[in-house]
């Protein structure tokens, strides 16, 4: 479904990704772990199309399409959705308005009509309940004055509504207490199905107790140096990253 081949990316002249390759199949949950500054967040940002990241070589294809040729919104409409580590505030724009605009933009891209307002409201109410959020969230400005946990729930709420084919979650666990973590994890787990894939970037094993990955990658210095099953994450948790580096150097 997603294929990243020998990807090299520079940011402000500095090479961050140095030949990263990754293949994700439908139904899989991948976790990317690694020390600070390894390029974890860069990967999901490049796939989503954020400005300021220069792809110097390599390819990204999603369902056979060249992702690097697509506009940001085209990528989203194709089913690539990024959940932000630090979602930005948009004053004066109601959350419900953003949700509706996003959903209808994606429907339009698929050639579908706008969702009728009552159907939309019903859908949103159902999802917001699932995320244990108060419905007053919908009337508040996007992310404005939200706590860290509320922002993250909101990101997952968008995922539940937009139903991406590949959900990319950038450090979705940062700043969450245990209860909020549980809710967020339940949200993500509810997205799991045979046709959808999930790519998580995280520092900590803790999240992976709640969202159990099929594949774990270790990203160090712009490359994936080790790939394994869920037990790899546990090993990283107890032994740190040093041994992986030594192993890959050997």
């Amino acid at each position: 479904m997603l294929e990243v081949k020998d990807l090299h990316v520079t940011v402000e002249g500095k090479e961050i990704l140095k030949g990263l390759s990754l293949t994700i199949q439908p139904g899989e949950v991948h976790a990317i772990m690694g020390p600070n500054g390894a390029g974890k967040s860069t990967l999901s940002a490049v796939i989503a199309g954020k400005d300021g990241y220069e792809v110097t070589s390599g390819t990204i294809t999603f369902e056979g399409k060249d992702v690097l040729e697509m506009d940001i919104e085209e990528r989203a409409c194709a089913g690539l959705l990024l959940g932000f580590q630090y979602p930005v505030e948009i004053p004066g724009v109601k959350n419900i308005y953003l949700l509706k605009a996003a959903l209808n933009a994606q429907r339009a891209a698929r050639g579908e009509d706008e969702m009728p307002a009552p159907d939309f409201m019903k859908l949103v109410r159902e999802k917001i309940k699932f995320m244990k959020m108060d419905s007053s969230f919908l009337q508040r400005a996007v992310n404005e004055g939200f706590s860290g946990g509320e922002k993250k729930r909101n990101e997952i709420l968008q995922m539940l509504l937009l139903q991406p084919k590949l959900a990319m979650l950038d450090e979705i666990d940062s700043g969450l207490d245990i209860d909020a973590m549980k809710v967020v994890a339940d949200g993500v787990n509810s997205l799991r199905d045979a046709n959808r894939a999930i790519l998580m970037v995280t520092h900590y094993q803790r999240l992976l107790d709640h969202i159990v990955p099929d594949v774990v990658h270790v990203l160090v210095d712009g490359r994936i140096v080790k790939t394994g099953g869920k037990e790899l994450a546990l090993e990283l948790e107890s032994r740190g990253y040093e041994w992986v580096l030594e192993e890959s150097a050997a």
């Binding site: 940001i72 989203a76 930005v88 004053p91 004066g92 724009v93 933009a105 968008q158």
Partner: protein, 480 residues
Amino acid sequence: MASEEMEQLVRREYTQGFVTDIESDTMPPGLDENTIAFISKKKGEPEWMLEWRLKAYHQWLKMTSPSWAHLDYPPIDYQAISYYSAPKKDEDRPQSLDEVDPKLLETYEKLGIPLHERAALAGVAVDAVFDSVSVTTTFKDKLAEAGVIFCSISEAIRDYPELIKQYLGSVVPAADNYFAALNSAVFTDGSFVFVPEGVTCPMELSTYFRINAANTGQFERTLIICEKQAQVSYLEGCTAPQRDENQLHAAVVELVALEDAYIKYSTVQNWYPGDEDGKGGIYNFVTKRGDCRGDRSRISWTQVETGSAITWKYPSCVLRGRDSIGEFYSVAVTNGRQQADTGTKMIHIGEGTRSSIISKGISAGRSNQSYRGLVKIGPRAKGARNFTQCDSLLIGDQCGAHTFPYQEIGNSSATVEHEATTSKIGEDQLFYCQSRGISEEDAVSMIVNGFCKDVFQELPMEFAVEAEALLNVTLEGAVG
């Protein structure tokens, strides 16, 4: 000027008659006493009105064009302007929408303006398209029943001379400023509203209904009076881009609110801003002032300014009455080469007076925008309060936003708060919206409309919806 001199002058004109043929519909360019006498005669005005105009003209001659605004434009040749042209006759107008510039029609379409209104706005001979008479009559009946007077200023001068004598120029005196003096001398059109004591005007009044075929005057004069406990909401302009061959517009608007009266004045201005280089756009030099004359009176200005090449405009409130309230809510958008110097003045005279100012400026393209606001609190204005918030949003890196707040506080018991922010439309905000599948253009409009929300919610419902659409059209192509 001594009054004998004035009289002589007036008489001289009358005895010598006019150089210009009174039957003609347009005056040749130029401005002198003859021009003014011609206008006055054409309008069928009484002699006192002519005197009033001539007095203003002589004051204007002694004044110079203001240069303090943050605006850059070539000097205006006042002798090159034609000061009177009669409304176009129906047969000279386009006879149907087929004859109208398709680009204009395209914009109307985008703004969602109903078909029959498009014709009127584009200057199509009204009778050829729809019958406006019935609409007009129904609302005239309704107003008359309530005792509200709503007519053109020229009609008011003829039919209600006492009210005109009492109030015209009482808020904005002829000598107030250069453009007000010019307007006082040569105004040809505008509205008059009088709401008698205790009456709440049964409908929102709009220039749109009154002006035939939306042919706005170059020098408009508007006077609105609310007697004790009276209320009115007045809408000026419309969201559709208006064609106008006159480059210079210098309007004067005067509002008078007596005890417990409330006047809400909303403007949406969308005149031609000029081509990409700013050529041919309208210069809009406006003096708008409200006088809260009575205790507990309230005047509220709400404006959405998107058009004109140059805007020079400071709707103000003179808070004379005890506990009176002045409000100013503004969204100004500039794109291309537009320049706007706009803001407000809140003059606190009475005790316990309050004012709030919310100004949102959006600059895109290579435009330049300034907020200029004065809050003046007089020695008698005990316990006066002002709150000012002005925010600027920049789109791109070739535009400018400037803030010039002035405060003159003559009273230690006053509370004055000022908040100001300038932000660039966030790359991060755009990316966030786009990464949800929303196009860049829609994302910009969403962010900008969010930024303006505080002001839009002050607009009457219908206007607010139109204003949002207008903002989107104005900022089309501003990014990318």
